[in-house]
Each structure stands twice: as structure tokens, then as C-alpha cells.
């Protein structure tokens, strides 16, 4: 779906900015979202995700830029006329209506719909989110997770072209959240509605989305599939925001196609990294390596890059362990190792204060310029 997105741009956001007084909450955002895509807006608190969503729903007018939905310019179209529904961060379920009335609320506006059709549609929606037995309950008589599903069913009932979900799972506990993620994905697959999901949880974004836009201070920093943003972040910010990563100051000393040779003082050695076209020899860059791309061994490995170090710290998580190593150059790296073998001591590759080596492929070493 990620590839299809560029061709049939269903939602096109062109240079949209939003200012509140002198404060710019959203800066010059341009995005395209394809039909049927699950698109995530990922970013820290206050980076403008909700503001962007509210502009799509029509609650805020952009200060600059334009929004096209299905080819139609949305400027000046009030919220009640947009084929866009929103699932609010707080769910915003009407407390004085039953579950059924909540779900059917939007359908009242479809003049062409008969009473029976409406009832059928509500029943269908309740079925979809498995709330049929709770149809007659009031919102305060159901659980938080069920309320969240009422909000979803209500937003889906009118068959929106675009569904906006503002932190849909933030209020749920971890277990329910994971379960609901899959539910959301299957509901999306069954309805074919385009989803834009706001989240500050990077794992959630990775699991749910076809594509992710990483936002920072009102700007979109990178757009791509979960794999792209994780494996090929375009900046230190994105690399650090998604997952954990080791970063080091480095200088490019030679271009040895298809690799770059870097001098990395903190590692105490030279390192080969994947070539990126945008850098020149002599340029100061950042070397970034994900902890799970590092292999720890007792003997010097065959790998192109091998660093010597000592285990300073280790944390055992069951399925894997996190090592913190002091390197010869004075730097420090974190490395993940899967605990493949079983046993109390044998599980670990190395122990506190052991002298070890870490090896990694040039392909896993990222060179970041910004």
C-alpha cells in the first residue's frame, strides 16, 4: 500500500501551517495519504499532531497551505460537511445517550436512510466492535476499552472516507492496547476506510501503520514505511525517536565504494559504513548503530568492523540481554543479544568486566548528516 500512496493521493496536504498568536504549532507540512492506508503521525507531546488532525477535521483553519480530500479543496468546508470523522483522544461519547444512540448519532443526518436501514447499520457496527450485548447501556456503565470501541463504531457508522484517530489507544493498558491494535487493523481491512492515527508511542506506530510521518516541533521530519523510518532514518532526531540507537561523532576520511571509511574517536578505531551520496570526504557526520545490530563475542570477529571493549553493565530481560560496553576509545555502546541458549550462566555471552569484542556490518552502520 505504501507504494500505491504516491499515485492515487487520496488526501493531499500542501504546505499547511498553523499559528496560535506568535506560536507556530504546525509548520509547512506537506503529506499525501493513499486510499485505504493506515497512516500514523508520530511525535512527542506538543509537536502539533492534534492540531494537524483538527485541521483535517475542520475544527481549525490552516494559517497557510491547503488540504485536498479526494480532489476537493477543504478550505472553508465546515466540520459537519466533511466526509471525515474523528475519534477523539477523550472519546467524547455523549453521556446522556445509550451505546446504541451514540453509534447511531451520525446516521440521523442521512435523510435518505430509512429507520430500518439505520437500525441495521447500528446493529452491524455494534457487531463489528463486539458491543451488541451492551447496546442499551449508558456510557458510564461500560468499561474504558468498551467506550473506546463505542467511539470507533460511532465514527465508522457513517462510512467516512477518512477516519482520524487521536491517540486511540492511549487510555488502555498494555495488554488491551496490543489486542486493540490488531482489532483496529482488522476493522480497517474490512471497511477499507483510510485511517490517520496520531500516536506518541513508536511501537504502536510501527505495528499499526503502512506509513509513518515522524513529527517534531510542528514539522514533519521523515515519512516512510515502518521499516524505512527504523532502518533508514534521515536524521539524528528520527533515529533517536524511533527505537534506541548508539550515536558517535565521526569524520569521513575516504570513500571506498560502496562504503565510507570513518574515523570515530570514541570507538578508538576506523569504521566502514554504508555510503550515502550526500556526504563529502572530510565532512563531520554522525555514526549511528542500533543495539541489536551489534554482535558480542569473546574472540575478535570476522566482521568488517570490530571493536574491543569491556562489559560495564548488563541487564537480563529474559528473551534477550542489554549490554553496556566501555570501548577502547573511551566511548560506550549498548548492544542487544538474544539469549538463544538456555541455562543460568550459559545464557549470557559475557559477564561483568569481561573483555569482549563487538562486530557489525558496514550495512548496519548509518551515516547521518543532520
Amino acid at each position: 500500500m505504501a507504494e500505491g500512496a504516491a499515485q492515487d493521493a487520496f488526501l493531499r496536504i500542501e504546505g499547511v501551517s498553523k499559528s496560535f498568536g506568535s506560536f507556530q504549532a504546525v509548520r509547512d507540512v506537506s503529506l499525501t495519504v493513499g486510499k485505504g492506508e493506515i497512516f500514523s503521525l508520530l511525535g512527542g507531546s506538543g509537536c502539533g499532531k492534534t492540531t494537524l488532525l483538527r485541521m483535517l477535521a475542520g475544527f481549525e483553519e490552516p494559517s497557510a497551505g491547503r488540504i485536498f480530500l479526494d480532489g476537493r479543496d477543504m478550505a472553508g468546508v465546515p466540520p459537519w460537511e466533511r466526509p471525515v470523522h474523528m475519534m477523539f483522544q477523550s472519546y467524547a461519547i455523549f453521556p446522556h445517550m445509550t451505546v446504541e444512540e451514540n453509534v447511531g448519532y451520525g446516521l440521523k443526518h442521512d435523510k435518505g436512510m430509512s429507520k430500518a436501514d439505520r437500525a441495521n447499520r447500528v446493529a452491524e457496527m455494534l457487531e463489528l466492535v463486539q458491543l451488541t450485548p451492551f447496546a442499551q447501556r449508558k456510557p458510564h456503565q461500560i468499561s474504558g476499552g468498551q467506550r473506546q470501541r463505542v467511539a470507533l463504531a460511532r465514527a465508522l457508522a457513517r462510512q467516512p472516507k477518512l477516519l482520524l484517530l487521536d491517540e486511540p489507544l492511549a487510555a488502555l493498558d498494555k495488554k488491551l492496547r496490543e489486542q486493540t491494535q490488531f482489532e483496529l487493523m482488522s476493522i480497517q481491512a474490512r471497511t477499507g476506510v483510510t485511517f490517520i492515527v496520531v500516536t506518541h508511542d513508536q511501537e504502536e506506530a510501527m505495528t499499526l501503520s503502512d506509513r509513518i510521518a515522524v513529527m517534531d516541533k510542528g514539522e514533519v521530519r521523515q515519512v516512510g514505511s515502518p521499516t524505512e523510518v527504523y532502518e533508514f532514518p534521515n536524521s539524528r532526531f528520527v533515529a533517536g525517536f524511533i527505537g534506541s540507537i548508539n550515536t558517535f561523532e565521526a569524520t569521513v576520511i575516504a570513500r571506498e565504494s560502496p562504503h565510507l571509511r570513518l574515523s570515530v574517536p570514541a570507538l578508538g578505531t576506523e569504521v566502514l559504513a554504508r555510503d550515502v551520496a550526500a556526504v563529502a570526504v572530510g565532512q563531520a557526520v554522525t555514526l549511528a548503530i542500533r543495539p541489536e545490530k551489534l554482535r558480542i563475542s569473546r574472540e575478535r570477529p570476522e566482521a568488517a568492523n570490530a571493536l574491543a571493549g569491556t562489559v560495564r553493565d548488563l541487564a537480563y530481560f529474559g528473551k534477550d540481554s542489554l549490554y553496556r560496553l566501555d570501548l577502547a576509545g573511551g566511548g560506550m555502546v549498548q548492544a542487544h543479544a538474544v539469549n538463544a541458549r538456555r541455562g543460568d550462566e550459559g545464557a549470557r555471552v559475557a559477564d561483568w568486566d569481561d573483555a569482549v569484542f563487538v562486530g557489525f556490518d558496514p550495512a548496519s552502520a548509518l551515516v547521518l548528516v543532520t
Binding site: 466540520p79 459537519w80 467524547a92 461519547i93 455523549f94 460511532r154
Partner: protein, 304 residues
């Protein structure tokens, strides 16, 4: 009982019971007992002694003459009707004016809100009587207010309908006008309190689902503000129905309201039992709506 157990009893039960009981004690001493006195008085017989009633002895212990008169004498029934109708109309207009004001208060910035709320309660800082007198001045035949309205009227209507002044004073219109003016804050404040609690994202959710603003108001705002409407309605209707000062000063002496009758029976006719009986009847009339209100409140609280 040892000291320690007494102490424990006080801590566990005694003090909480005392604290909870205090308001009830207050109610018993300052409401229930006086009310019983009034009830007893209402079944006594009027005499020329001091106090001007007695029961027992040559008079029956319980005489229901007063109540019979209320039910049969058109004067009392009309007074009740006038009171209830005037109070209902005043409540309606308070709601009509107060609701938009209260809603507006929830929509302005916080600094403005405090200033405007201040203005709503500001009239309480001047004497109530003074304000009623001010209205009497305004409504009088020669006041600039009356002259202005008269001129406007004469300008708008055919010459045959022209008047020299608009007769506002000493009418039910005047009573209702001044009551609306006086009781408006009692409508605005509870309405504001209930509207202010509403979650504005609910309005957005309704808009998002296709409702225009007017529809949002009917579907979301209005149903959720019913407790506020009822509270405000009670606070206006009940005192307005028993109002004495306003009808006495600006009302039509020919169609008195019930408060006026109680006062007259008490101080002029010296018929204390009759005054007491009217008071009891009025209270019984008011208990009905109050019970409906507490029923509704209990239901609303059970559901939040």
C-alpha cells in the same frame, strides 16, 4: 462504659453523627418547629384575644374552616392562580434571557468571564427595595422610559391607537417585569454552573458527525443542562410564587398575589389562622415540584 470505649464511640460514630446531624438540627429548630406552629395555627379559630387565635376550650381543637374557605372563596383561588401564573411566566422569561447569557458566559475568555459573572451578581450589592423603587420610577407615566416607549408606540401604530402614556405600573405586567429583573441571577448562576461543566469536545464530536451548531445545541447542550434548568427554575419559581414586596409595590391591587393575601390576613384582618392556612397551602403546592426535582436529581446522580 469505660472512658476508652466512650472515646472510641465518639471517634467512630459520635462526631460523624454530630457533624451530619448539625444541619438537620438546624432544619428542625428553624424550619420544622416553626412550620408546626404555623400548621397548628391554621387549624385554630380566630379570636379577638392576644394572640388573636385559640384552640381547645370553647373552640374546637381542629377547625378546618380556613381550608374550606381557601377552596370555596374565589378570592383565594384567584390569588393562587395569579401567583402561579405570574411565577411561571417570570420563570419562563428568566430562562429565555438567562440561558443565552449563561451559555455566553461559558464561551468567553476566562478574564471576561469573571468580569461578566461579577456583573450578574452586582445588583445584589444595592438594596432590593431601592431597585424596585427605581423600576417604579421608570414605569411611571412621566418617566423618560415611559415617554420613549409611548413615542415609539405612537409612531408605529395607526393614529386611532395612540396613547398618552403606557400604563405599566400597577399591573401584572409590572409584577412580572420586576420579578424577571430581580430573579434573573438565580436562573443564570445554576445554569452557568451546569453548562460550564460540559465537555466542549462533545460539541465538536456532534459537529464532526454532521450536526450543524443549532442541532448540536438541541442534541448535546440542552439535554445535558436540564438539571441546571430545573435548579434555576426552582430558584425562580418558588420565591416568585410567594413574592410579597414586588406585587405590593408595583402590582395590581385588584388581583393580589398570594404573598399579599397572607400579609393582609395577618396584619390587617388579624386573621392569623387564615394567614397560616394559606401559607400551608402554598407550601404544599410548592412541595410537588420540589419533589419532582429531587427525584430527577437522584436519577441524574445515579447515572453519573
Amino acid at each position: 462504659m469505660t472512658r476508652a470505649t466512650l472515646q472510641r464511640w465518639l471517634d467512630d460514630k459520635g462526631w460523624p453523627a454530630f457533624l451530619i446531624g448539625l444541619p438537620y438540627l438546624w432544619l428542625v429548630v428553624f424550619f420544622l418547629l416553626p412550620f408546626l406552629v404555623v400548621v397548628v395555627m391554621s387549624v385554630a379559630t380566630k379570636t379577638t384575644t392576644a394572640p388573636p387565635f385559640s384552640l381547645g376550650g370553647e373552640h374546637p381543637w381542629i377547625s378546618l374552616d380556613t381550608y374550606a374557605r381557601i377552596l370555596t372563596d374565589g378570592l383565594y383561588l384567584r390569588a393562587f392562580l395569579t401567583s402561579l401564573v405570574n411565577a411561571a411566566i417570570a420563570t419562563f422569561f428568566c430562562l429565555l434571557i438567562g440561558y443565552p447569557v449563561a451559555l455566553g458566559l461559558t464561551r468567553v475568555s476566562h478574564s471576561w468571564r469573571n468580569i461578566l459573572l461579577m456583573l450578574v451578581i452586582l445588583p445584589f450589592w444595592t438594596s432590593f427595595l431601592l431597585r424596585v423603587y427605581a423600576w417604579m420610577g421608570l414605569m411611571g407615566k412621566t418617566s423618560w422610559f415611559n415617554v420613549m416607549l409611548t413615542d415609539a408606540w405612537n409612531f408605529l401604530v395607526p393614529i386611532d391607537w395612540a396613547v398618552r402614556s403606557i400604563p405599566m405600573m400597577h399591573s401584572n405586567f409590572a409584577v412580572i417585569l420586576v420579578m424577571v429583573y430581580t430573579y434573573l441571577p438565580f436562573m443564570i448562576l445554576p445554569l452557568y454552573a451546569s453548562l460550564e461543566r460540559l465537555d466542549p469536545t462533545l460539541d465538536e464530536a456532534a459537529m464532526d458527525l454532521g450536526s450543524r451548531p443549532a442541532r448540536v445545541f438541541l442534541d448535546v447542550t440542552l439535554p445535558q443542562s436540564i438539571p441546571g434548568i430545573i435548579a434555576g427554575g426552582m430558584l425562580v419559581f418558588i420565591p416568585a410564587a410567594g413574592e410579597l414586596v414586588i406585587p405590593t409595590l408595583v402590582g395590581d391591587a385588584g388581583s393580589p398575589m398570594i404573598g399579599r393575601l397572607i400579609s393582609d390576613e395577618f396584619s390587617q384582618a388579624k386573621d392569623w389562622p387564615m394567614a397560616a392556612a394559606i401559607a400551608v397551602a402554598l407550601l404544599v403546592l410548592m412541595v410537588g415540584p420540589t419533589m419532582i426535582y429531587s427525584r430527577y436529581q437522584a436519577k441524574a446522580e445515579g447515572s453519573t
